[in-house]
Amino acid sequence: MKKILFVDDEEGMHQIFRMLLKREAREGLFSVEYFTSASQCLAYAEGSSSLEDLVILTDISMPGMDGFELLERIREKFPQVPVVVISAHESDVYLEKAKRLGAIAYLTKPLEIAELKKLL
């Protein structure tokens, strides 16, 4: 089963993500771990016994380590873990940067259920 690591400094986004994918979660397609900072997520990944089924979904703008930095670190340490970048901005600059750093997708808020499903 896939395990999603969802990173956003705003807890409201955790709830929204959970509610959006409630039905799929009930079908047992995946489980989710929520983090309010990139460093928490990184620590979790480092402590994981298996990286096989991990997928990281991260917000960009967060205090402390931001989403791009997390993306870079994950690419370095765990290149097999796919990272999806989420932002409130439809910005080409962000999109380019996310691609360049090796994100598998770039999503904008508000998140769309259809897009999330496609990704999974």
Binding site: G12, Q15, I16, M19, K22, R26, I60, S61, M62, P63, G64, M65, D66, G67, F68, E69, A88, H89
Partner: protein, 386 residues
């Protein structure tokens, strides 16, 4: 010699070419030429008496004419010198006028330059005014739909809290175990979602109110608010705006002493702190642009209560302020930002508002290293004059 004089004479008399006298003289001159220039074939001894006479008369004429033309020349010289004198006078007059004109011109240019600067500042102020109007207009436009969202979300919360639990209890009696679990979760999520809407609606509202408060709000009753909460609210607004535009990691160190928590300020102080934070974030953003990734921005906020004052210290480790710039930062319209980015009104507004409340602002900075803005506010109540 005579020959030359003859030519000369003929040349001099040219203007009279049509007169009788000239024709006669010319004939005489031609004759004289014949005399002095023996033509090929004619003998030198063949002198004609009448010719001699004519020649004599001609020479006489010529002499008279030479004298006459000398006199004429003399008169002309006199006239010329008179003319030169007039010319010099005229030239003097002209150059005097030219000088006057030059002066007038310079004065005019100065005036034009003055008008230009005046015009520029008027244009700038107008732009500012229309920018203010624009953002106020947009804020109002957003406020209406936002109010509807907030109001509706509140009615959902009321429903969820008051009527729904009863319905849920009655309905869930009829559900299977698993179904019931999902049903309860869904019903709870209605509450969660509406709470998120209400909380974030309030957040958007406060951002908009702050935007509106940037535009003059005369005639509105002043409200006193807690200093600490005002500082935190401004920080949160600036932080969220800044990181939305330009995400970077930032360390925020807060040090608020217990006593300062009871201190209140006029609600306009939101604008004061917002502007100081904006400057700090800008300075750190610039530093990051210059130095790159190894740079770790740190914002330090200290609120301290001393015997009859409260101090607010806002420090950043951004680009700092050079000494010659520091002298001017509180001047209205002084900015080092590229055109269109800064109004240069931030710190002048900060200064005006703080001093109007009996306080004081000063800035210390080590260029390239850090800047600290210190705002001192008196503890005794102050009359507001702005």
């Amino acid at each position: 010699m005579a020959l030359a004089a003859g030519y000369c004479f003929i040349v001099t008399m040219q203007p009279l070419g049509s007169s009788d006298l000239f024709i006669r003289l010319r004939t005489a001159a031609v004759n004289a030429l014949d005399l002095t220039t023996p033509s090929s074939g004619s003998s030198v001894s063949a002198f004609d008496g009448s010719s001699l006479l004519v020649t004599g008369v001609t020479l006489g004429y010529m002499l008279v004419l030479i004298v006459l033309s000398w006199i004429h020349y003399d008169q002309r010289r006199a006239a010329e010198s008179e003319f030169q004198q007039h010319r010099r006078q005229l030239e003097g007059l002209i150059s005097q006028r030219a000088e006057e004109l030059q002066k007038k011109n310079e004065e005019l240019e100065k005036k034009i330059a003055e008008i230009r600067t005046l015009q520029d500042s008027v244009v700038a102020q107008k732009k500012l005014a229309s920018l203010g109007k624009l953002s106020a207009g947009i804020a109002h436009e957003i406020k209406n739909p936002l109010n509807m969202i907030n109001n509706s979300a509140k009615t959902i919360i009321d429903f969820v809290n008051e009527s729904m639990p009863g319905y849920v209890e009655r309905v869930s009696k009829y559900l299977e175990r698993q179904e019931k679990e999902y049903f309860l979760e869904d019903m709870n999520d209605i509450k969660v979602a509406s709470e998120i809407i209400v909380a974030n609606g309030a957040r958007a509202n406060s951002i908009i109110n702050n935007m509106l408060s940037q535009v003059a709000r005369r005639g509105v009753q002043a409200r006193q608010v807690g200093l600490v909460s005002q500082v935190d609210e401004s920080l949160s607004i600036v932080y969220h705006t800044m990181r939305a535009l330009n995400p970077f990691s930032l360390e925020i160190q807060k040090e608020y002493d217990a006593e300062s928590r009871s201190f209140n300020v006029h609600e306009d102080f939101g604008r004061v702190f917002t502007n100081v934070f904006e400057n700090a974030f800008y300075a750190m953003k610039e530093k990051r642009r210059q130095v790159g990734d190894p740079y770790q921005p740190v914002l330090k906020i200290k609120i301290q209560s001393v015997p009859d004052k409260v101090l607010v210290l806002i420090g950043d480790n951004g680009i700092g302020i050079p000494k010659d710039v520091l002298e001017n930062v509180m001047e209205p319209f002084f900015t080092t930002k590229p055109p269109g980015e800064g109004t240069g009104l931030g710190l002048s507004m900060v200064h005006d508002l703080v001093t109007a409340n009996g306080g004081d602002v000063d800035i210390v900075s080590e260029p390239g290293v850090e800047t600290t803005v210190r705002i001192q506010l008196p503890k005794r109540p102050q009359e507001r004059s702005v």
